[in-house]
């Protein structure tokens, strides 16, 4: 859509977004929460002159406008450079294709199956911790990537031999999702996705030669029955293979980092096994790894008095909605004892496109904290972590820790 047209059709009470959310400002990228707070209070809808999109931050607005039947997801992935590969899997589809594809994987992520997967995560975690030296030095990010990547490979039933390579390629592929991607981000994402596609194709070839009983076997079975195309099997496999480690790792790091700053939280976690799920939910609310999703409108809308024409992009700021004071008391505080009605968060997105791996991610995070809190008394930061964030994707590159017995 032409940005000048949209600017002409909106009245003055729809401020330009970068006055509130300065997408490329390093201070905003490290700690967006003060910026979100001001936007939540003063500017319920903003426009982005660079691309003509509209930006929403309030919880209630996201839940309402983000779930309208007229809202579409596919046009957004068409614009996302190399990530258009997702147009061949559930996340890139609107109905009816979305449900058809989502049902091919849903049975693998039920609460019952996740209990099983969480046991394997605990095993991987213990094995890694067993291998630490007497000094207890470990990089939290390395540990988290390895156990979560191994777990998702176990679900797929494929070899988990290069978690570091997959992490490196994802770091290269994610910056493109920013509101202000640099031209070279597009090239770098193409390069990364080409390599990830090659790796996924090799996994499929290996699986055809060595059948098993994993998620990938189930997808290939669906392909053989004519329920999925080869392209859909490739995109679905690629997606789970490459994202399995990513946001779960961020949240594990975010929690371990928190334990270094507030050691009493580790003691509280250990002392309250009945609050472990609430702890993980609060961690997800507190700092979302991917704080935004986008959708396209297909009908004219009026949002807070602002005319939003059909065909506009909406940037829905999940990370801001998670800190909306209309829903959460003291939203910028970490508090795992919140009452039940304040435990919802939008970190795993919402509505029909809510993250299918949510239960698995939550279980992995819980299990890693459980194993560490059972084996160690304290988590110490030995150097400042290296964080590389955009407005749309947050990453710990390093998190140097010492685990004290």
């Amino acid at each position: 859509m032409d940005a000048r047209t949209s600017a002409a059709t909106v009245p003055a009470d729809c401020p330009e977004v970068t006055g509130f959310l300065p997408w490329t400002d390093p201070r905003f990228r490290i700690d967006p929460y003060p910026y979100y707070a001001r936007a939540l209070a003063e500017a319920p809808i903003m426009r982005d002159d660079a691309d003509g999109s509209f930006v929403l931050t309030r919880y209630e607005d996201l839940m309402h406008y983000g779930r309208l039947p007229s809202i579409r997801i596919a046009p957004e992935w068409k614009k996302a450079g190399a990530w258009r590969v997702l147009l061949d899997m559930a996340l890139g589809h609107d109905e009816p294709g979305h449900t058809r594809l989502r049902r091919q994987t849903s049975k693998w992520f039920t609460p019952k199956r996740v209990r099983e997967w969480a046991e394997t995560t605990a095993g991987f975690t213990d094995r890694l911790l067993d291998g630490l030296g007497p000094d207890g030095l470990v990089d939290g990010s390395d540990l988290a990537v390895e156990v979560t990547h191994r777990t998702v490979c176990h679900v797929l039933d494929v070899p988990a031999d290069d978690h570091d390579g997959v992490r490196r390629l994802m770091r290269q592929a994610m910056p493109i999702l920013s509101a202000r991607p640099a031209p070279r981000d597009f090239e770098r994402a193409e390069e990364a996705l080409d390599e990830l596609r090659r790796r996924t194709a090799a996994l499929i070839e290996l699986k055809r030669a060595n059948p098993g009983e994993g998620l990938l076997d189930s997808l290939l079975g669906a392909q053989d029955r004519g329920e999925m195309s080869a392209a859909e099997v490739l995109a679905t496999t690629l997606f789970f293979y490459v994202v399995g480690h990513m946001d779960a790792t961020y949240l594990i790091c975010s929690g371990l980092h928190l334990f270094t700053r507030e050691p009493e939280l580790l003691d509280a976690f250990r002392a309250h096994p009945d609050r472990h799920e609430a702890f993980v939910a609060e961690l997800a609310r507190f700092d979302a790894p991917e704080p935004v999703v986008t959708r396209t409108t297909t009908e004219d809308l009026v949002i807070h008095g602002v005319h939003v024409p059909a065909g506009s992009s909406l940037r829905l700021m999940l990370g801001a909605a998670n800190h909306d004071p209309a829903v959460f008391d003291n939203p910028d505080e970490f508090d795992f004892t919140r009452p039940p009605e304040q435990t919802r968060n939008l970190t795993f997105s919402f509505g029909s496109h809510g993250c299918q791996g949510r239960l698995l991610a939550e279980a992995e995070i819980r299990v890693v904290f459980e194993r560490i809190s059972a084996r160690y008394s304290r988590v110490e930061l030995t150097a400042e972590p290296d964080m590389r964030n955009t407005d749309a994707s947050r990453h710990y590159y390093t998190l140097p820790l010492r685990l004290h017995s």
């Binding site: 839940m63 992520f109 039920t110 019952k112 199956r113």
Partner: protein, 151 residues
Amino acid sequence: MNELIVLFGTESGNAELVADDISAALQEKGTAVRVADMEDYAVDDLGEADMVVLVVSTYGEGDLPDTAAPFHDALVEAKPDLSGVRFAAFGLGDSTYETYNLGVATLRATFTALGATQIGETGYHDADSGLNPSDVAVAWVSTVLAVATPS
């Protein structure tokens, strides 16, 4: 009672977990319980149990979830006589949707139309409440069974 069947219909597996937890709670009290997925259950067998507990979510625009839809279609198609069947119904939903718990309402209406008798009030879990669905369901089933088996 001889046997109670907990029949679940699910999209994401939450109704399955609730059905399992209802079953475990009842077995602890000495009730014989069997859990089955609606997907694997023949509608002709509905007369066999003393009582059926339906646990079902809602999907999409108020539709029945993946494993309940074929079961419901079979009921509508075969129209079995359920006049000897007593049932209780529990829905999992999210009150921020206009279609809140339409899934369980559809199933309940069909059971009643085929002659089955509902015991107790329909139970609901609202995802917006932040409460644990199994806790809500286990509390609900004990009040229903108190109605079903007056001492």
